[in-house]
Amino acid sequence: MTKNIISDSSEWSFPLLERFDREIGNLAHNVYGLDTYANQIEVISSEQMIDAYSSVGLPINYQHWSFGKQFVATEQTYRRGQMGLAYEIVINSDPCIAYLMEENTLPMQALVIAHACYGHNSFFKGNYLFRTWTSADAIIDYLVFARRYIAECEERYGEAEVETLLDSCHALMNHGVDRYKRPTPLTLAEEQRRQKDRAAYLQSMVNDLWRTLPTVEGDDGAEKDLRWPEEPQENLLYFIEKNAPLLEPWQREIVRIVRKMGQYFYPQRQTQVMNEGWATFWHYTLMNHLYDEGFVTDGFMMEFLQSHTGVVFQPTFDKPYYNGINPYALGFAMMRDIRRICEQPTDEDRLWFPDIAGGDWLKALDFAMRNFKDESFIAQYLSPTVMRDLRLFAICDDDREEHLEVTAIHEEQGYRALRQALAEQYNLGSREPNIQVFNVDRRGDRSLTLRHYRHNRRPLGDSAEEMLRHIRRLWGFTVRLETLDENGRTQLIGEC
């Protein structure tokens, strides 16, 4: 057995990394059938890691003060030792770029290779959200385009001008996604070719929309009551890009760039548990396999397990450092549980998961990875076993009641409610307020009315007023925000 051992030192070197990558890749592709993009593994220093951190994990990005703020904050906490850096950053691109930090030991590097280059990588390639919303082969090109375009705008129109525009766009970044429509893929060549036409065309459309030629009297009456847009629009940035009356073509393009970035991150926001769970499951499986084949030593495994258990540790709710459910812990527990259900099903499992219990675990996991997001994944796969292991319980916090109520716990009667409540917790739609474009007063003062659809009586946070100022800056005319409560009454929150 011992003759297989790759290295018993904890120092890494490039030949050793390549050897590990070869062995791990071989297992991942040939034994477990993971389908991945090619890997581009870059070794960087910790300073470079902080740089990467502060440009939201992208290898290249346009320049904005908020990234500087992020940088300052990260550097500060890191220097004071309040926070270790993440071991890895991986970018959803083709080839898939992963960063290894030079300070890490060999077992850590191997762990990161398994986790990022095979775990995350196969998730990016397989999951339906990433396939729908991002184009891995074009993202780097698009970032280059965006950076250059914004730098050009800064030169031409001034840094301050571009900065305020970006501020306002960033504020709305989370509201720049059509949740139900397939977006067009981003490619550099196409973007550049179409960008110019689009600018001219858009401006002409807007001009037409706001044409102030007098219309024939009498036509007015019929049109007066019609709302516009006819249906509420959820994609605020898109609506502004296409319809804001006063934006210059270059400003529309910048709105579009921010919108596309928001769109790129949209799947990541919805698949935290799954993505991390999947990657963690695979590094765990792959490293154990390496150990079983005798490639690595006991010491290597001890170091690996120590950081692995650190990653998947879930403090209970009553600990002072408890900060919600750890997505690594939940994801890993659920992924492992799917394998267990397939390999060693109990009667309970057969009842709950008749279609996978006792089946092929690789197929079951692959199916789960490809076709779900956090919300539906939990609704589908959270098993009584996991609920019991994590000792989950649901609490209802109603501000009309004096006390909080425990609504469900990990018991026969509670499983379904608990599962439903946890899935809901990961529903992006309920995590973020639902705000839509409701009306534009086209014939009057051109004011824009946004409507907040209240859910469970939860009001908007106190940032609403500042947000209105940002939207007003983009729209150029009065912006109103009203809230629609459960009884169908609307109430004006603010106007700017």
């Binding site: 890997n39 740089d51 703020k69 300052v72 970044m173 919600g324 319980f393």
Partner: protein, 423 residues
């Protein structure tokens, strides 16, 4: 298929621009923090970087989010003894009865300052932003005031220590190539001829062949005899002296150490002197500091004694001004040195001495000075010295005076004295 890339040698300062933009954007807030920091921190470490804070709410990036209230369902791990239907008291803030909501962390975050480190340079820039040295006239070039040695290309002679080896050897190669070229060309010609002769079957002993061989040998000897390096090749680095406007300053600190100046006041004065020193440092390469303390008689002392030794007695300010004048006359030629003076006092003086001070300043000292700043550290009524100095100010634009009540006044007063003058 994996591809490894070592990026460690790539630049690591990708975020510099973003960091600078961040600082620029929050300059006004940062300036406030820096001013506060100067007043708070101890005097000795003023010349270093600083941790500054900006209120988090000023730099937050807003997004739409849910507010408090309404109904929320939450799932938590680690149930111990809850059963369905249990009523739990709502936890207060982050508080303690064990039914944590994970909410405390989020809501408590907003009020902290966003704290980070400024480098020394950034700190100084913010501290002295918008400030300017009045009368920043560089001293005129006069005769042999000051020279700076600068490179001035290469020359063909000089001292051996200035020989530029690379240049010289390059020259040598060029010379050997140039002189040897016709010889080598002739050698090639002869060799070609020789080859043709031999190819056509002519014997080695043929007379022409022998001639050619001799000729080639002779040429080769001449080529090898070319000197490897010649005095002609030598090149020396050449330096020349450029006259330079002086950038030397001398700062005269004058402090009253009579009994009425207690340690608190001395510390206030010290802060003022330090600020002035740092500020001058940004403008001049070299700064000399003279410390003069006085009660009824004046003495030149070192820094330690200046700030910390105790004296008692009456006060005669003119003694210090006289001493300052003598020192400047003797050691610091005002055509070479930029002279600044700062005087700190509690305003006490012998009544009859104040007019003497005024005359001293007007006649002797002010013509030498770039700037003279007087700060009076007193919460009381002004006395004769203040009024005498007011007369000086009326006639001299580079004389300034301000009153300081407490530590918090120092920086504002300093800013006031040195604020950028509208042209």
């Amino acid at each position: 298929m994996s591809h490894f890339i070592d990026r460690r040698l790539n630049g690591k300062n990708k975020s510099t621009v973003n960091r600078q933009r961040f600082l620029k954007r929050y300059k006004s807030q940062l300036k406030r923090s820096v001013a506060d920091a100067v007043n708070k921190r101890s005097i000795t470490d003023i010349d270093s970087g600083e941790r500054v804070g900006i209120p988090s709410k000023d730099i937050s990036e807003p997004v739409f989010h849910h507010g408090k209230g309404g109904t929320r369902d939450m799932v938590h791990p680690g149930n111990k003894d809850f059963v369905t239907g249990d009523q739990i008291r709502r936890p207060e803030g982050g508080g303690g009865d064990g039914s944590g909501q994970g909410k405390a962390g989020k809501s408590g975050k907003g009020d902290d300052d966003f704290v980070f480190e400024l480098s020394r340079e950034e700190f100084m820039d913010l501290l002295f932003d918008d400030l300017e040295l009045p009368n920043l006239v560089r001293n005129q070039l006069m005769g042999t005031t000051e020279f700076k040695t600068v490179r001035a290309g290469y020359s063909t002679d000089g001292s051996p220590s200035n020989i530029d080896v690379v240049r010289s050897l390059k020259g040598a190669i060029a010379r050997r190539t140039a002189i040897g070229a016709p010889l080598r060309a002739r050698v090639r010609e002869l060799e070609e001829e020789l080859r043709i002769l031999i190819d056509s079957g002519i014997e080695e002993t043929d007379i022409r062949v022998r001639e050619i061989r001799e000729e080639i040998d002779r040429l080769r000897t001449r080529i090898t005899a070319l000197p490897f390096i010649d005095t002609f090749d030598l090149r020396y680095q050449s330096f020349t002296k450029l006259p330079e406007p002086t950038s030397k300053a001398v700062m005269v600190c004058i402090m009253d150490v009579s009994g009425s100046m207690d340690q608190v006041r001395k510390n206030l004065a010290k802060r003022f002197f330090i600020l002035l020193y740092l500020f001058l440092q940004r403008n001049y390469d070299k700064i000399d500091v003279i410390f003069i303390r006085h009660h009824t008689i004046a003495q030149e002392v070192d820094e330690q004694e200046f700030f910390y030794s105790r004296e008692t007695g009456g006060t005669v300010v003119s003694s210090a001004l006289n001493l300052a004048y003598d020192i400047l006359k003797e050691r610091y030629d005002s055509s070479v040195w930029n002279i600044y003076a700062a005087q700190a006092s509690d305003g006490d003086n012998w009544d009859s001495d104040s007019t003497v001070c005024r005359d001293l300043l007007v006649e002797k000292l002010m013509p030498l000075m770039r700037y003279f700043a007087y700060v009076e550290i007193t919460p009381r009524q002004h006395q004769s010295l203040w009024y005498a100095y007011q007369e000086v100010r009326a006639t001299h634009r580079h004389f300034a005076m301000q009153e300081i009540d407490g530590a918090e006044d120092i920086f504002p007063v300093f800013r006031e004295l040195f604020k950028r003058q509208e042209a």
